[in-house]
């Protein structure tokens, strides 16, 4: 991979939800860097903080959630230092979002055309309807939708079509970063593939950086260059997909990859026994220690740090930090 300009840099991001029972550490010290045009995957099971992180990147953390610390640099600007109005201007024009449930993400009482036009007129000012329509219809064709969708309501579209509308909407202002939060989880596998292909095509044409959030490692592996594995609000491992699949360093990554079905190998699939720890009272040591088959005494005592073991391959695990010592 050639070295490209970093477009998004997350440094020690902490997002907590303050509840009556204490603080839920949904995102707890996450750092990563993304480069221009790169596609970057974030995988993890439900509740590991991946969607919360997407919200933080959009500056959309709402009460009871708060940003407890860290910085997010988008094209060199720390977005937490910006005021509301400036963040609002950055949203969509520089960083856009494809939501998890496209089913409910479109306003049911507005035509598709108007919902996309809203973005254009908000960020680029008033434009006559005729120009807007041409532009939006052209956009709809790029994601494989017919022109008539412009005048249709969300309930007249299938799930896959709605997801395409969301993709079209995400690229209308040609942003530098697109965050896709499980964009295909609500679709069946056939449509899933087609929609994912559409997403990758438009991303490549635009040269935008793509953050693909999901729980399906297999699906991500086909699409992204680099991947981060998240567990209990922290990053367990980051690396290039190829290296990570060949040589997973973190036991969690290893178990996740082993749980994927393959055509060659037919065996009884092993899940990972146990559940992630409560983010309300995270354990003192490694969050994975209670499920880890390689757990050591030390793991329950001290939190492992994210260390670069090989070039561009980071892991947070005591098994590997000892190697370095």
């Amino acid at each position: 991979m050639t070295e490209r300009k970093p477009i998004l840099r997350v440094k020690d991001l902490k997002v907590y939800y303050h509840t009556d029972r204490g603080s839920v550490r949904a995102v707890d010290g996450v750092s990563f860097t993304m480069h221009e045009g790169e596609s970057f995957g974030i995988v993890g099971e439900s509740g590991c903080g991946k969607s919360t992180m997407a919200m933080a990147l959009l500056g959309l953390v709402v009460s009871p959630g708060t940003i407890e610390g860290g910085q997010i640099f988008l094209d060199g600007t720390d977005i937490f230092t910006l005021d509301r109005e400036l963040i609002r201007k950055i949203r969509w024009s520089q960083i856009s979002f494809i939501p998890q449930g496209a089913m409910n993400s479109l306003n049911p009482v507005m035509r598709i055309g108007s919902q996309i036009a809203d973005v254009i007129t908000t960020h680029q000012g008033y434009q006559p309807e005729k120009i807007l329509r041409k532009r939006i219809q052209k956009l709809l064709s790029t994601v494989g939708l017919p022109h008539r969708v412009y005048r249709m309501y969300p309930h007249e579209l299938s799930g896959g079509m709605k997801q395409r509308v969301c993709i079209a909407m995400a690229i209308v202002l040609e942003p530098e970063v697109i965050i896709a939060d499980e964009p295909t989880s609500a679709l069946d596998v056939v449509v899933q593939r087609v929609v994912m292909q559409t997403l990758v095509d438009v991303q490549e044409r635009l040269g935008a950086a793509l953050i693909l959030i999901g729980h399906d490692m297999g699906l991500q592996a086909q699409v992204v260059n680099r991947q981060a594995v998240m567990y209990a609000g922290k990053i367990a491992e980051i690396g290039e997909v190829k290296t990570m699949y060949k040589n997973p360093l973190h036991p969690y990554t290893k178990l996740l990859i082993e749980s994927l079905p393959t055509l060659q190998l037919r065996h009884d699939f092993q899940g990972i026994p146990g559940l992630p720890p409560s983010l309300l009272n995270p354990p003192k040591g490694c969050a994975f220690s209670n499920r880890c088959p390689y757990v050591m005494e030390h793991c329950r005592e001290a939190m492992p740090k994210l260390v670069e073991i090989q070039p561009n391959h980071f892991v947070a695990c005591h098994l590997h930090s000892e190697v370095i010592k």
């Binding site: 959009l58 959309l60 609002r88 201007k89 950055i90 949203r91 969509w92 024009s93 856009s96 979002f97 939501p99 998890q100 449930g101 089913m103 409910n104 993400s105 479109l106 306003n107 049911p108 009482v109 507005m110 809203d118 973005v119 908000t122 960020h123 309501y153 309930h155 969301c166 909407m169």
Partner: protein, 335 residues
């Protein structure tokens, strides 16, 4: 467009069927009431010192009202007369027909109630939306929510009495009762219109203030609920201004139950207006119905009930026509 026409046609059929059933019930119910209507009338005449009349005379009247005919014939006759707008004679105000009485009182009720309801709905809905959008912490919510809760729990006739006490006895700003100053020439002129407005302010105010609390609270809770919706979140991610998200995304969707609420509340208000019009001696349908019930004026009660039913059904029909314009999903679901 074709779908919309099919929807309208379906709604219209339901409208006609409802009215037909209502008409039939209004015909049947009094005939289950024990006793003889003519006996009731002649007894009343006798009480007032007149003669009860000979059996021949009663028989003559029985023929005149068609009561000697079989029920089916009576029913067909009733439908025929109804189609001509003939609701029969009032017993209490004999030479006057029921239609005349209703025509005289309907404009008062429709004018007062529709204006009051719409004003209250509009204000409550808009303030509720703004307050709900601001969230629990906003200053207007902190003041308006307890106020609305307080207003909403007061029965409107109590509020009406309080209003009369304050505005009539203490400050003497508004007239105590009636629809206009007695003796004023009833014609469409500016002084008369002003006089009517002056008389309608207190009854209207008691309706507006009470129902305002409800409209405010329901719209507010709807908006608060919608703030968690995915399409609101996406609208925020799109970088739209708060104002645009509120009016084009949240408000438009919160409006749907609010419009249904308007239809339902029309029913409640028409029923409840009997007490209100009694308190203010307001010359509307409620006042007419109140008087005819105390005087057992059956034709007028029937006519009044019929008009109320038709008005309500028509209101619902009109709202049904409006629904698809605010919610595009409806014509498919209910068409």
């Amino acid at each position: 467009m074709w779908l919309y026409l099919r929807y309208v046609f379906g709604r219209f059929a339901i409208f006609i069927i409802t009215i037909f059933i209502a008409i039939t019930i209004v015909f049947i119910v009094p005939r289950f009431v024990p006793g003889d209507p003519l006996f009731a009338v002649t007894s009343k005449l006798a009480e007032m010192g007149g003669s009860r009349g000979s059996p021949e005379l009663v028989e003559e009247y029985r023929k005149l009202f068609g009561l000697d005919q079989p029920v089916l014939t009576q029913y067909l006759y009733y439908l025929k007369e109804l189609s001509k707008g003939n609701l029969g004679y009032s017993i209490a105000n004999f030479p006057a027909t029921v239609t005349e009485l209703l025509m005289r009182s309907l404009p008062w009720t429709i004018g007062l109630l529709s204006v009051a309801t719409v004003i209250s709905w509009l204000i409550g809905t808009f303030i509720g939306a703004i307050s709900g959008w601001g969230g629990k912490e906003s200053k207007i919510s902190k003041v308006l929510v307890p106020l609305a809760l307080g207003l909403y729990t007061i029965p409107y006739y109590i509020l009406a009495i309080i209003l009369i006490f304050l505005f009539v006895y203490v400050w003497g700003i508004f007239p105590i009762s009636g629809g206009y100053t007695p003796g004023f020439p009833i014609k469409f002129s500016l002084p008369f219109v002003l006089d009517v407005i002056k008389h309608s302010i207190l009854p209207a105010l008691s309706i507006i203030l009470i129902s305002l609390g409800w409209w405010f609270l329901s719209m507010r809770s709807m908006i608060v609920l919608l703030q968690g919706e995915d399409y609101i979140l996406l609208a925020q991610a799109k970088g739209l201004s708060d104002r645009r998200i509120l009016w084009r995304y949240a408000f438009r969707n919160a409006l749907l139950p609010q419009v249904s609420g308007l239809a339902i509340s029309l029913a409640h208000i028409v029923g409840g207006a009997i007490i209100l019009e009694k308190i203010f001696a307001y010359p509307g349908v409620g006042w007419l119905l109140y008087n005819s019930i105390t005087e057992l004026d059956f034709p007028t009660i029937q006519g009044g009930v019929l008009v109320v039913i038709i008005a309500l059904t028509a209101a619902n029909f009109i709202l049904d026509l409006i629904y698809p314009l605010i919610d595009p999903r409806i014509k498919y679901k209910r068409g």
